[in-house]
Every structure is written in structure tokens, then in C-alpha cells.
Amino acid sequence: MASDVYSEYETRLPGLLLQRVKEEVPEKTGVRKIRAILDAVCEEYELCKSESGEAVGLIAAQSISEPGTQMTLNTKHFSGVEEMNVTMGLPRIIELVDARKKIKTPSMTIYLASPYNKGKREEVRLLAQMIKETTVEEISEQINVNLADQIVEIILDKERIKDLRLKPASIAKEVKRQISEKNVVSDGSKVIIKVENSSSKSKEVSPIFKLKENLKELVVAGIKGINQVLPIVENGEFVIKTAGSNLKKVLALEFVDKTTTITNDIFEIYAVLGIEAARYSLFEEIFSVIEQQGLNVNPRHLLLVADVMTSYGIIRGITRYGIIKEKSSVLSRASFETPIAHFTKAALAGELDSLSSITENVIVSQVIPIGTGLVDLYMNHKNKKVKDK
């Protein structure tokens, strides 16, 4: 059986490569031929393997930075009308590599579960509206203040609430939850708030107006943090792009495809889906920038950066507070930034630098332990005598 032949090679070839061979080999190929092909691929694979001691880290750093000098600084979306504003280019790469907790333009791509993804445009638009953070001001026609009775009256926009599948009662409940007033009732298409603590007979009117202003900003529907929504068609299905991000809440929605919906906020992915997901999305985010700039960089280099950043189970930035802080060598840390702080701390703790990485050995003019510096050659003096005879 042909499949048995392939499984024989499982230990010798990476899965993806084996898969590609399977795809390339025509169906009715004899077992002997397949074996010959696989042997040839194995041979080639062995030739292509990276050599021991190769400084892959530095190569990755160079492969990202060298094209980095060609990247544009102020790119935000260029063509295409239906796009969200997202930071791109060098600033985005810096943001990712820094592992910034607050990114400039958080954005989500929400895929919809079937049947919603193939639904009508109008339906999708409504779904999108439901996700969007909605304030009282957006769903009301008017907010009236009745000073005499100390009443604030929200006259709701009937059409809008119907679109958003909201009910006056539920809005009233939500408003009540968020402000510290007890007398909040709904009446028809109105929400009436009776301000109770008119305790002070002072002629101060500002509290009630202040309440009115606060009410305007009150989020009563949608998901917090999602500021803008844009339903678009991508590969024949509806996708909602957003500005602002809240992965946890969005994934909880029933009409969302939980397997594909993503955000560009790495920390959110880390919090919701864990470190492996964060690692991969970090890689994908960097890769998408490089690709969008039309640069040719092998994904391996970006993958290595993502792996290094997440190798401790948390996301560490490539900064003096992140990865570099955790280097074991004092000299290595000191030579990057803030040398004085590192030296004083090292002295107090009595740290020992065992000269195990690059920078320290450069400082003391020794061979660096990488590449050809990893190997040494010794001659056995005893054997020399035998030869001399």
C-alpha cells in the first residue's frame, strides 16, 4: 500500500514536506517509484538542513531589519474603499515587537457562523450594529429635562431600538444598573428617570444636567470597546471588521464563528486563548505587515521572533524591560541600555558573569561561542610519538 510507504518516512521528513510529496506524486505511481521519490526528497532535505552552530537569531534580526529600512512610515490602508484604518508599516512592527499592551488601532475581524455569513446584507448590517458599542444618545431622539419634577426623560428612537433588538424595559434596566438612581422606568418608547435625592433645596441645577450629559455617553447596548463596525464581503461571505476590540465578549455571541474570528491585539488573544495562540497571531501580524509592504522575508525569521517572545509562557517585548532584562549576563544587559543600573545591582547581588553568550566575549576579546566559535580542535600529543617512529 502506498500509504504505508509514506508512513515509513514519517520520522525522516517533516509532516508538511511529506504532505507536499503526497500531493505531487501522481495517483497510480508504483510503490518502488514512490520510494525512489521519497529517498530523493530525503536526500535533498538532509542537504537543506541548517548547520549546527548557525546563528539563526542574528539572521532573523537582520532579515527583519534590513527590509525595515525600506518600509514606509505612514502607511494606513491605501487602496480599497472598504477597509478599516489600521496601523501598518514600520510603526506596527515596532508596536508588535515592543509587546505594547495598548496598541494604536485595535481591530477585529469577525467571521459569522452559518447561516449568518451567507445572509442578506441588511441582516449582517444589523448584526454588526448589535456588536457596536451603543450609547443612549445614539438610540434616543431627545433627552428632556424636567426641572420642576426633577425628571429626565429619554425619548427613544423606535426604529433604532427595533433594529438593535432592544426593548425600552431592558434599556431602562441597563440605565438603572449603571447610574445610581432607583426610579428608572420605561413607558412606551420613553425611559423616565426620577431623580430622587432632591434632598438639598439648594437651587443648584447642575446635578440633573450633569446626569443628562452622563446619560448621553452611557453604553446601553453592544460590546464595550467596539467603536466602529464595517460589514464587508470577503471570499463570498460576510465578515465584520471593527475598530476597537473585545475578543472575549465577541466570542460569546452566538452568531459568531468562534474558530476563525480574530483580533489584532496580541495581549487579548493571550488572555482569552492562551500563549500558543498569541505566539501564532504575533507571527501572523508581523507577517501581514511584511507582506503588505511587498517585501520578501521568509516566515521562519518572523516565527523565530515570535517564539523567542513567547518562550517563557508570557509575552515579552524585545526591549530593555522584556527579553534583554532576562539575559543572564550582566555585561550583555549593561551593554544594551542603562549600564549603571545593571552594574550597581550586579555588585550588590554579587552576580557572576560566566561569559556564556556573545557580547561578553566580544568585550573581553575572546572567541564568541557561536558558529565556528563553538568548535575547537585538539591534538593528542601522545599519538605524535607513534608517528615519529
Binding site: P14, E24, I37, A40, C48, K49, S50, G53, E54, A55, V56, G57, L58, I59, A60, A61, Q62, S63, S65, G68, T69, L73, M84, L90, I94, V97, P231, A243, N296, N298, P299, L303, D307, V308, S311, I324, K327, V330, L331, S332, A334, I340, F343, T344, A346, A349, G350, E351, D353, S354, L355, S357, I358, T359, I363, I370, G371, T372, L374, D376
Partner: protein, 863 residues
């Protein structure tokens, strides 16, 4: 690493705080006077330039080790301080020590149970986040202890201690003097120090208060003798003399029983000088200055920043045996060669050890001396003594030379040198070349290695280094030679490719030259240094493709794409071009698989020499048939002109229509966009569309037969069709930050337009071509975008430079271990196989293995 076999290895460096005892022990002199020299200009005993602390004057000998200048490493001195002072760099640490310990019993202000918890906690946080995690835990402890009222051990009342910057500690409003502080720190037991992350063996807390001042060796602060014979002292010497002077006065005043206020004042002054000796940029303190007003550069200034000791001297070192000059192109030398001027070859030398077999050969160099090329500049004896070769010493040295000596001979053809152009952004910025000594004053390189260096010839300069040991030479040759660097580890394709003339020449050859007289063809090939012309068909007239095929090995098969519309496929069978042309898609850097395939099949050396021949052939073609640009290249016939005008009119009308719609509120906004944004986007779309329409018209109507401008663009040698359109049709919309131009005056970009004019003209649409000439406002708009892109470059360079520094600093110690895993030098596994499959990009084809062609190859073999 074999360190166990040799003594001259640094194995470890430990960091400690100097104790007063150690300072005294390590010192050779007690410094007692601020004087430097006596009347004769001889260093004073017990002064700051005491000869026992080392020498900086040539001719003098160190009185401690007997070494001369450069031999003596320098020795410390010491000076007991009249009153202790705080070490400014440790102020925060002293603060946390004082705050968290009892002033009576010296114990940490936490209960026994807390202690246990803390120890556990400390261990945990150290495991988790290393030393800094520990420090964090300590800081947390200090925070907890801050509010303790009473010592849980001895019941003594705890007063609040505050730090008044820069270095005054106040306890309940009263200032603690360093003597008191030191006494308290002494009380803290060794066991308790663990709470603060201090190692009692290397840092007792009382050592942070200086009682003994270490005077750095003279070699650390050398004095400079000016031309006038006047001596100028180092900043540190000035600072130390301040300290010595004040210290003496303090001693005298205390001994004389001066009033407390005077003593305190002097004490404070001593603290100031001792503080600024270490750090001259403490906040809230006046900067110590020279008499001229320039701030003194003290210890920290020497270490810190890019110009400091670490980054400038320890990580970056100056080298000898190097040269720098302007580069110019020379297609006639091989890509792995570098043309070196005679003058340079006379100065730079390569050491060669004399053996009995090369004695006569090296004697020849010596005979010619330093002035005649190729000669020798130095002879090194086995004991390391270097002798300069001059016309006078030549004869004597020739007598003396024998096996074991080293001759430093002039650079000759074939020597391996390392060539570099800054900024050195990737490893291909430093490659090894073979020397080719040439007349002229510039370094010469083959234009096809411009790419990896990112060099051009508008005045670029490059550096050349001559390796000085056999190991270095060998390593350069096997790891850095151009042929080993051809495949970029960034994308797995050839980074060395034809550029400019080499591309357009071969394009013309393979596309237009259908019939070339055989004699002419032979001429071309000879010009390209191809002498094996058996492959050239024995016909009266041969085609360009047949000429190019001569360069290709007989058993080479290839199929790929070209940029050409008429011949989009390139097919090579049995070393002959069957179909297709040579252009950037095949010969260019980083594009196409042709170069990669040749490299794979015939090896890097062949690929490189192939590249060299291709370059020469391309240039030979242009030389033979001529190639030049004309203004008429960009001329379009009248009817095309009319069509372009119509395109312009249409686009402008469409824009006005949109504006009209917008004004009448008939425009529908895109979802998530405002009306204005929608309008802008629609207009941009219309105007940009106009340019692509114009491009089609120009392409159709331009004089196509051998139009050199078109050849340049279509072959990919330089420029694009867009450039041509901007010359002959119109320049088009100028975009600033992805929008039309809107900034400038109040509600209008330029004062020659009305307010809120949204029309194409007012918002940076240029309706003229470069040939017609731009109107003033159009010129201005073009300048605006030009300036913006200049700014962009200027701002981007330092940003990406910093990114590179950070990336390389944090990833530099990551390597593939012998078991195939990717690890950091600490041993932590980053990946189990590099890139998850272990494939080295530089050995792959475009980052992967070409499974398809392997399968095809095996299948086609038959049984």
C-alpha cells in the same frame, strides 16, 4: 571550549562592592596631597600623579611594577576620608535598607512567620523572573514594612524615614548623617541581607557608605601634554584633587576643633565632590564644571551611551590593516574580485610565515623593498620584534631572514580581503573578495555585487580589511567569499543579479537581435571573455538567443516566467533558449529561479562566473549597438494627445459631478465613513483611474520600435512605465499621507484658490506632464509630496536602526545546536527544529524544497 587547557582565558567576571579593607589592600599609595607635580615637573610622592599608581609619561617607569607606559596596567591609590560619605549610586538601596530595618536591633521589621513566607516568595520570584523578580519582591517587602510602627523583635519605635533628594535622609524631620547611617547599616545581620537581595560576601551594606576613597590609577586618567609643553589634566584628576583638598581641610578643621557648622559645611561639600566624582548629572545638584564652564566628564559619563566606554571601546574596536576610498564600477573584473589601487596595495600588507619552501619566494619581496611593487614593508622576527624594511635595512634583513620569520608583504592579486559598506545591515554587507591590484585611486567592484552592499557610485565609499592570521584568512575564504553569500538567507534566492545595463543589454540581445553576423557574435562573446564558442551555431547569421545560449551549460533545462508580454515564458532546453527573453525576472536580484537553479545545479562558483559573463555580455551588446535616450522617446501622436486630454476632462468632470452631488446632499456615505471621507475616496479613485487610463494610451501610442525608454522600463533595467506617462501625459494626483493635499492656508491649500474648493486643481492634481512643464501651483504640490517623502526617510532611519539594535541584541545568542534544536546561550529551547522543519533558507530554494521538480525528475528517469 577547551578553557581548561589554557590559562589565558577569562572564564568569569564577578561583580562586587569594594570594602574599605579591600580598597586599602589593593592600593599602592596613600594619597595625601592634591598637588600633582613639583617644580621640576616631576610627580609628587603621595600626590595624584604618584609614580606608584602607574605611568603615562614616556620614559618613566612605574615604581610599583617597573613597567613602562603601555606595559604598566596602573595601580589604585587610597585615601581615608575624614568623615564618611554616601555612595551616590547606591542611594535608593540605602533608602530601602534604612526604611525596612530597625534602628535599634538592625533586624528586618517583619515577624518570624512573615520571614518564612518571604523567603519562599523570594525563591519563587527568583526562579520565575531572575534577579529582577527578586528585586521586585524586595521592593514589595519594603512597601509592606513602610507602615510598621514598632519593631516586632525588640519593640523599639520606628520613625518614618524619608529621602530628600539627592542624598539627605530625614528621620522625623532630623537629618541623619552618614556616620549614623553607617552605624545602622552595620547592625543589619548577614542573614537579613537576603531580604534585600544583597549578597553579604560581596556587598555588606555599610560599604555603601564610603570611609575609604579609592583613587583610580593614573592610566585611567592620563594627562595630555599640549604642544606648548603645558600639561592638561584629565577631568577625573581635577575631581579627585577637589576631593583630596576638601578632605584635608575637613581633617584640619576637625582636629582644630572648629565649630560644628563649619565641619558640617565641609562635610557636605565633601559629599558633593565624592558624589559628582561618580555621577555628574544627579538631579537637584549643580553640575561640577571646569573653570571654562564646561561640565566635567566623570565616571558615569565615561561608561554610558554610544560614546561611552562600553559601546565605543569594548564593543567596537578600531582596527589596523584597513583602507577606505570611493568605489567605482568595473564590469570587466569578476564579481568576487575587488579592484585595489596601487597606492593602497603598497601600504596594506599580508603577513606570510617563512618556511624553507617559500624562503626564496619571500626573499624576492624583501629585495624589492617597500617602494617597489610587490615588495614588503616589515620583517617580523620569531621573538616578535618588528623590523621596518627600508632601502637601507634591506640588505641586512635579507641576510638575516630564515624560516620562522614573518614577512609582511604587499597585497597581491588573489589575496583574500574583507570588503564592507555601511550601514552593515545584514551579513552580506561584509563579504570577502579576491584582490585585483589596478591603477587608479578607487576601489573597483563588479556592478552585480551592488545589491548586497546596497551600493551605488554617486560617491559611495567602502572599507577594506586585510585578515592578518591564517585562521582569519581561511574563515573569510570559506564563510564570507561572495560565492558563499549568493543565496540570501532572507528569502532563499540569489541576491546577486544583473542590474541596469546588464539587464537592458541582455534584453536587447535576446529580444531584438534576431540576426547577427557570426563575426559580430564572436566579437560580442570575446568582449564578454567567453572563449569557448563551440556552442555558437555554424551559420552566417545567428540570433541573440543563440548567442546567450553559449553561456548556458549544455545539460541545463529550465522553464520560468519573463516580464515580457509577447514572450511570457522562458524555456531553456539542453542549454539552449527555446523561448523567452532575458530580463529582470530572470537575471535580476531576488527574482525568478533561473539564477537559483544554476547555482543549485552547477555550484556557486559557476553561478558567480556566469553572472560575471552575463554582465559583460550585456555591456558588450550596448557598446556594440549603442544605447541612448531621446526626448522623442516620450512623444505621442496627436490623436493620442487628444485622447489623453479627453481622459483628463472626463476625470475632472466626474470630480465636479461628485462635488455637486455632495453639495446637494445626494451622496451616500460608505458604511463607517463620513460623507466627506466618502467624497474624498471617490474622487481619489476617479483621478487615479485617469492615470491608469492614460498609461494604457501612452503604452499603445508611443513609438514602440526600439524605444530606449520603453526598453528600460520593460526589461526592468530602470524606471517604469509610470515615469514615462508622467513625462508624456500628465503627472497625476499628488498624495500626501494617503490623501489629496488639503493642508496649507485656512480652508484652502494655496492662496491662489478659493476657500473650500474641492476641485482637482486646488487639491493637488497635476494635469501637465513633465515635458510640457508644470504650472506654478502644480510645481508647488509636487514639491510638497517630495518634501514629505524626504521627511519620511529621515524619520524612519533612526527608528528602524533602533529596532535593529534591539532585535540583534536580544536574538544574537540564538543558534542551532548540534541536536538540531534552536537554543539561546542559556540553554533554553526556543524551537525544536529551526523554522519547525530545520530547513536553512540559504540552502533552500525560495525557502522551501522544490518537491515538484524532484518528483518530475525521478518519474522521468524510467525504471
Amino acid at each position: 571550549m577547551g578553557k581548561e587547557f589554557f590559562d589565558n582565558f577569562v572564564r568569569e567576571i564577578s561583580f562586587e562592592v569594594l570594602s574599605p579593607q579591600l580598597i586599602k589592600q589593593a592600593a599602592t599609595v596613600k594619597v595625601v596631597t592634591p598637588e600633582l607635580y613639583d617644580k621640576e615637573g616631576y610627580p609628587v610622592d603621595g600626590g595624584l600623579m604618584d609614580l606608584r599608581m602607574g605611568v603615562v609619561d614616556p620614559g618613566l617607569r612605574c615604581r610599583t611594577c617597573g613597567g613602562r607606559i603601555k606595559e604598566c596596567p596602573g595601580h589604585f591609590g587610597y585615601m581615608p576620608l575624614a568623615r564618611p560619605v554616601l555612595h551616590v549610586l547606591f542611594i535608593p538601596h540605602i533608602y530601602s535598607l534604612l526604611r525596612s530595618s530597625c534602628k535599634e536591633c538592625g533586624k528586618v521589621l517583619i515577624t518570624e512567620t512573615q520571614t518564612e513566607n518571604f523567603e519562599e516568595n523570594l525563591k519563587l520570584s527568583e526562579e520565575e523572573a531572575g534577579f529582577f523578580g527578586k528585586m521586585k519582591a524586595v521592593a514589595k517587602l519594603a512597601d509592606e514594612v513602610k507602615n510598621v510602627q514598632k519593631c516586632p523583635h525588640c519593640g523599639a519605635k520606628k520613625e518614618k524615614i524619608s529621602l530628600e533628594k539627592p542624598y539627605a535622609f530625614l528621620e522625623a524631620g532630623r537629618r541623619l548623617n552618614p556616620v549614623e547611617i553607617r552605624a545602622r547599616l552595620e547592625k543589619i545581620s548577614d542573614d537579613d541581607l537576603a531580604f534585600f537581595g544583597l549578597n553579604p560576601k560581596t556587598a555588606r551594606p555599610e560599604w555603601l557608605v564610603l570611609t575609604m576613597f579609592p583613587v583610580p590609577p593614573v592610566t585611567v586618567r592620563p594627562s595630555i601634554t599640549l604642544e606648548s609643553g603645558e600639561k592638561s589634566e584629565d577631568d577625573l584628576t581635577h575631581k579627585i584633587s577637589d576631593i583630596v583638598r576638601i578632605n584635608q581641610r575637613l581633617f584640619e578643621n576637625i582636629n582644630a576643633g572648629a565649630p560644628e557648622i563649619i565641619v558640617e559645611d565641609l562635610w557636605d561639600l565633601l559629599q558633593y565632590h565624592a558624589g559628582t566624582f561618580f555621577d555628574n548629572s544627579i538631579a537637584q545638584l549643580p553640575v561640577a564644571r571646569h573653570r571654562s564652564g564646561a561640565p566635567l566628564k566623570t565616571f558615569i559619563d565615561r561608561i554610558k551611551t554610544k560614546q561611552g566606554r562600553i559601546r565605543n571601546n569594548l564593543l567596537g574596536k578600531r582596527v589596523n590593516f584597513s583602507s577606505r576610498t570611493v568605489i567605482t564600477p568595473d564590469p570587466m573584473i569578476d564579481p568576487d574580485e575587488v579592484g585595489v589601487p596601487f597606492q593602497v596595495a603598497l601600504k596594506l600588507t599580508s603577513p606570510e610565515r617563512v618556511t624553507e619552501w617559500n624562503l626564496e619566494y619571500l626573499k624576492d619581496f624583501l629585495k624589492r623593498g617597500p617602494k617597489e611593487y610587490p615588495g614588503a614593508n616589515y620583517l617580523v622576527r620569531p621573538d616578535g620584534k618588528k623590523k621596518k624594511v627600508t632601502d637601507e635595512t634591506k640588505e641586512a634583513l635579507l641576510e638575516e631572514i630564515q624560516p620562522g620569520y614573518i614577512v609582511e608583504r604587499h597585497l597581491i592579486d588573489g589575496d583574500i580581503v574583507i570588503f564592507n559598506r555601511q550601514p552593515s545591515l545584514h551579513k552580506m554587507s561584509m563579504m570577502a573578495h579576491k584582490v585585483r591590484v589596478l591603477p587608479g585611486l578607487t576601489f573597483r567592484i563588479n556592478p552585480c555585487v551592488c545589491r548586497p552592499y546596497n551600493a551605488d557610485f554617486d560617491g559611495d565609499e567602502m572599507n577594506l580589511h586585510v585578515p592578518q592570521t591564517e585562521e582569519a584568512r581561511q574563515e573569510a575564504e570559506t564563510l564570507m567569499l561572495i560565492s558563499t553569500q549568493m543565496i540570501s538567507p532572507r528569502y532563499g534566492l540569489s541576491i546577486i543579479g544583473a542590474i541596469q545595463d546588464a539587464i537592458s543589454g541582455n534584453y536587447i540581445l535576446t529580444k531584438f537581435l534576431k540576426e547577427v553576423k557570426r563575426s559580430e557574435a564572436v566579437d560580442l562573446l570575446m568582449d564578454a571573455d567567453v572563449f569557448d564558442i563551440r556552442k555558437l551555431p555554424l551559420k552566417k547569421a545567428v540570433s541573440g538567443k543563440e548567442i546567450f545560449s553559449v553561456l548556458i551549460p549544455d545539460d541545463f533545462d529550465y522553464s520560468g516566467k519573463t516580464k515580457d508580454r509577447q514572450e511570457p515564458e522562458l524555456i531553456i532546453e539542453n542549454g539552449k533558449i527555446i523561448k523567452g527573453v532575458m530580463d529582470k525576472a530572470n537575471l535580476g536580484e531576488g527574482a525568478g529561479l533561473l539564477l537559483r537553479a544554476i547555482n543549485k545545479q552547477y555550484g556557486a562558483d559557476f553561478a558567480l562566473s556566469f553572472m560575471g559573463t552575463v554582465v559583460r555580455l550585456g555591456i558588450a551588446v550596448l557598446m556594440k549597438y549603442g544605447f541612448s535616450l531621446y526626448i522623442s522617446d516620450s512623444e505621442v501622436p496627436q490623436d493620442a494627445r487628444v485622447r489623453i486630454d479627453k481622459i483628463l476632462k472626463d476625470a475632472e468632470n466626474a470630480t465636479f459631478e461628485l462635488i455637486e452631488k455632495y453639495k446637494n446632499n445626494e451622496l451616500e456615505a460608505f458604511p463607517g465613513r463620513t460623507l466627506e471621507e466618502t467624497l474624498e475616496r471617490k474622487i481619489m479613485e476617479k483621478l487615479n483611474f485617469a492615470r491608469s487610463e492614460a498609461e494604457a494610451v501612452v503604452k499603445e501610442n508611443i513609438n514602440k520600435e526600439n524605444n530606449p525608454s520603453l526598453v528600460l522600463a520593460l526589461s526592468g533595467a530602470r524606471g517604469s512605465l509610470l515615469n514615462l506617462v508622467q513625462i508624456s501625459a500628465f503627472v497625476g494626483q499628488q498624495a500626501l499621507r494617503g490623501r489629496r493635499i488639503e493642508k496649507g492656508f485656512f480652508r484652502r491649500p494655496l492662496s491662489s484658490f478659493g476657500r473650500d474648493d474641492l476641485g482637482p486643481d486646488a487639491r493637488g492634481f497635476i494635469r501637465n506632464g513633465f515635458k510640457q512643464g508644470l504650472r506654478p501651483h502644480e510645481f508647488f504640490y509636487a514639491a510638497m509630496t517630495g518634501r514629505d517623502s524626504l521627511m519620511d526617510t529621515a524619520l524612519r532611519t533612526p527608528k528602524s536602526g533602533y529596532l535593529y539594535r534591539r532585535l540583534s541584541n536580544s536574538l544574537q545568542d540564538i543558534y542551532v545546536k548540534s541536536d538540531g534544536t534552536v537554543r539561546a546561550s542559556s540553554g533554553i529551547v526556543v524551537q525544536f527544529a529551526y523554522g519547525e522543519d530545520g530547513i536553512d533558507v540559504a540552502k533552500s530554494i525560495g525557502g522551501t524544497i522544490d518537491v515538484h521538480s524532484i518528483v518530475q525528475k525521478v518519474l522521468s528517469k524510467g525504471d
